[in-house]
Subunit: 86 residues, 2 copies
């Protein structure tokens, strides 16, 4: 069995409003940080998982994204899987 | 003025429990995905910002991380800044 590390990024779809991001953007302005044209908040999911082949791991991660991590009506995701050296 | 893209990753400190991550981990088991040794949920913040020098942008992003994005008692962060070609 090999150890893998997967990172999943879940973002709101571009067409979906992000009120939390907007609030932080205006707080940033008040702190004196100008020039922000967009600020959006998403989720980062980091998984350590063991398995035989990278392909199996990717299949499993995709299943988890579809079923658990992302609400595909309003979110999309991407991910990458890296094998950890023992 | 140049356009930059910053990505900030905010993670719970390793010593802090992540009950939401644990819940997803056991839901993953029920979906038939085995072998997950750890699953933790963090935040991904993506910012488009304009400025002159990459160094200024990094300073601003660090300020935002300290003051707005991360609660440093329980979270830590890292980030990277990339210049977008016009």
């Amino acid at each position: 069995m090999n150890q893998f590390e997967a990172k999943v990024f879940v973002r709101l779809r571009p067409s979906v409003l992000d009120p939390a991001g907007e609030a932080i953007k205006s707080a940033a302005n008040k702190l004196g940080v100008d020039g922000i044209s967009s600020l959006r908040i998403g989720k980062l999911i980091e998984i350590n998982i063991e398995g035989n082949k990278e392909k199996d791991i990717e299949q499993n991660i995709e299943l988890l994204c579809d079923r658990l991590f992302a609400n595909q009506v309003i979110e999309n995701y991407d991910y990458f899987v890296k094998r950890l050296d023992d």
